[in-house]
């Protein structure tokens, strides 16, 4: 480009594939040496948080230190909470795509890679909410708070290693049910084990 060209160009912001700098950026931000190149995962992480920014679930599919995770969580929560209601569900953050959706008082937030399909990620989020809803019966934030470990168990029957493992709602719920039955001891009233 000749000198004196404006910063904007007609081919601006063509997304760069294969630029997997995410943990490097996080690590550098946390003041450490960048980790060794990490393999891709379709979904990098999923966070659930309230409108006050309190974390309700964090599922990480990439290896990061606690410090890095906290930093990312803090920044991303801030960014998402700052979005106005009428804005779209997608935003670009560092070199990741963020897909988020609010259900009642909870934000469901996923980080996906550049080549991933944002629209199907919305479906993934929605399917997870449906599963929670079916399991808890009209799920609300309190259910997730008081039964956080259940939320994890359900997620782990739907996604594995950041990928969708089961597309049948019925099969996921059946698996959870069977696992619950194996737990000792059982609390009759809820039919879910209580620790």
């Amino acid at each position: 480009m000749p000198a004196g060209c404006p910063p904007h160009s007609t081919t601006a912001s063509l997304p760069q594939h294969g630029d997997r700098g995410f943990p490097f950026a996080a690590a550098a931000a946390a003041g450490q040496a960048p980790p060794r190149p990490r393999p891709a995962a379709a979904m990098q992480f999923m966070l659930l948080f309230s409108r006050q920014g309190k974390l309700r679930l964090q599922k990480w599919y990439v290896p990061l230190s606690d410090k890095e995770k906290k930093k990312i969580t803090r920044e991303l929560v801030q960014t998402v909470l700052a979005r106005k209601p009428k804005m779209c569900s997608f935003l670009e953050w560092r070199d990741l795509k963020i897909v988020y959706k609010r259900y009642a008082s909870l934000y469901f937030c996923c980080a996906i890679e550049d080549q991933d399909n944002e629209l199907i990620t919305l479906e993934i989020i929605h399917r997870y909410v449906e599963l929670l809803d079916k399991y808890f019966g009209s799920v609300c934030e309190l259910d997730i708070i008081f039964n956080f470990e259940k939320a994890y168990f359900i997620l782990d029957e739907f996604l594995l290693g950041g990928e969708v493992q089961e597309t049948s709602k019925k099969n996921v719920l059946k698996a959870i049910e069977q696992a619950d039955l194996l737990q000792e001891p059982r609390h009759e009233y809820f039919n879910v084990p209580v620790y």
């Binding site: 063509l14 393999p39 290896p63 399909n117 470990e149 990928e163 696992a179 737990q183 000792e184």
Partner: protein, 752 residues
Amino acid sequence: MVVPSLKLQDLIEEIRGAKTQAQEREVIQKECAHIRASFRDGDPVHRHRQLAKLLYVHMLGYPAHFGQMECLKLIASSRFTDKRVGYLGAMLLLDERHDAHLLITNSIKNDLSQGIQPVQGLALCTLSTMGSAEMCRDLAPEVEKLLLQPSPYVRKKAILTAVHMIRKVPELSSVFLPPCAQLLHERHHGILLGTITLITELCERSPAALRHFRKVVPQLVHILRTLVTMGYSTEHSISGVSDPFLQVQILRLLRILGRNHEESSETMNDLLAQVATNTDTSRNAGNAVLFETVLTIMDIRSAAGLRVLAVNILGRFLLNSDRNIRYVALTSLLRLVQSDHSAVQRHRPTVVECLRETDASLSRRALELSLALVNSSNVRAMMQELQAFLESCPPDLRADCASGILLAAERFAPTKRWHIDTILHVLTTAGTHVRDDAVANLTQLIGGAQELHAYSVRRLYNALAEDISQQPLVQVAAWCIGEYGDLLLAGNCEEIEPLQVDEEEVLALLEKVLQSHMSLPATRGYALTALMKLSTRLCGDNNRIRQVVSIYGSCLDVELQQRAVEYDTLFRKYDHMRAAILEKMPLVERDGPQADEEAKESKEAAQLSEAAPVPTEPQASQLLDLLDLLDGASGDVQHPPHLDPSPGGALVHLLDLPCVPPPPAPIPDLKVFEREGVQLNLSFIRPPENPALLLITITATNFSEGDVTHFICQAAVPKAPLRLKLRLTYDHFHQSVQEIFEVNNLPVESWQ
């Protein structure tokens, strides 16, 4: 006495009951102390409960590392409840950075080979979430075995665990590639989905695998076709679309296999067309599949008609009421605008509509796409839209929009007048956001359009009269008024309404700019110089101008002060030369983006005239004399430059020597004069970015004990052949020295 430990939900209640952060901390610290004690005591019965509580406070941000070993113990336990919490703890608290993580390898191995299905599930899940490379290598054989297990519950998890293992240890591809062919025949959606994900991962990592799996393209096409044509299934359909997750994954794999491969692309062509036309688009699920289809069509070697279909689908997406869909459409179209320009052009009106989006991330993309779609036939209409956008767009888009408009205007301007109008409009609307060279570009443009001088100066005068805060606009306007003030006052431009401006108004306006606290130092420089130029353009008695100039002679700003002092001197001592010095600048030829270079050169060249250690005085007429001395001096005598910040000044011509690109060797310095300790040296540089240019620096040094005063050095250079005529006058050892000489022995490298 043993105090029974809190149940998890009771602890959560207590924490939530805390009114302050400090109170919460207290509750948690107390409980963590109990938990630690419990761990130390090794209580197996409540261990799972203690860890669950610890995991809860960990999520709130409190340290939980002392629970790591407990995870190991729980995983090793035979109770399912223990394993469930233990594995969860391992996924939350352990990762490959901790050496402890390796310790669960053995437990996982046992659970994988001997556990009941739910236990195998837990182990596979943990392995695929936090398994390090070492763990993956160790456990690959176990996972491989599970791929062939009858239970789909375990198999689907084993397949995705294999995906993770390959990501961590690419060499394991050889282990997990062979089973794929058979797995692809499964009918269980979970297994099929996992298998396709696995094949995708293998193909992305190895060109050999990619070639190998091309042969399954027909099978994939068949699977997808079955999915698309089969009826509604309660189990897998979402909004009338059969298993969109599986469809999307298949389409992704087809994309990878069809890329750059004619034959595979052809095999999938019809199916892609079918999916593209038959998918229900009323809900997001269908649009997700459609979107993936479009991405695949555009990435493989698809038929031209199919590509157009894909772009049209994106065009339709732009009209969708769901802004998420509009977002992906804009992003995709931006990726395609270079390769499929004419197809995208067809949707230009819709794209332009998207400029009005309230969501900034959409309007940003619409802006980029709009700018990419500007061409010579639509430039007028597009610029209108973009300028309207500029007026109302969010502040963080202003700079990009302004620079985009200016760039497009430069490339596609139908007429010079339109171009000037466009730049003017941008400067008035978003003056603070334009790039630094906008001023230079506009003055160049105006200077070069002689027929538009009158028009330009009037428009700029009007704009300036309304608003003196936008610095780039003020600078250009001041420059213009200075140059073409006479045209402004003549009042007879047909293109705008007749404007009667009198001299006092013009001077008042420039003074206002000069005095305004909003004006940058550079702007004030422009204004002062403009006032000075007007002294020759206007008919009045110049008293007002002289007054201003003399006041600014004591201005605190050094640059401004210097200017004012010199102008003042021009009035007082060299009034007879004033007209010549302040004449209109000659039209400069411009090579487009060289404008920056020329601005730089003229600044560097301006240093040449100040090589003497004593502040220079205007040297106009003597220079003219010198040029007369040179034989062959052309009739096109260049007027010496005024100290004017405008780029493209006449000085450029003095050094515009005809040269071809030089050899890279530096040109040696040349001593051209020596007398009683006063020495003159020439050094030569060719700037690498502009090898046709030769910069000559004259350095005068006094080695003697006596002072040199009133030193004046003047240089004249004819266009060809290269020689230098120098004239020196100075006082040294109480004598007046005057020397005129020619330098003929310039180094060979300097002139070829």
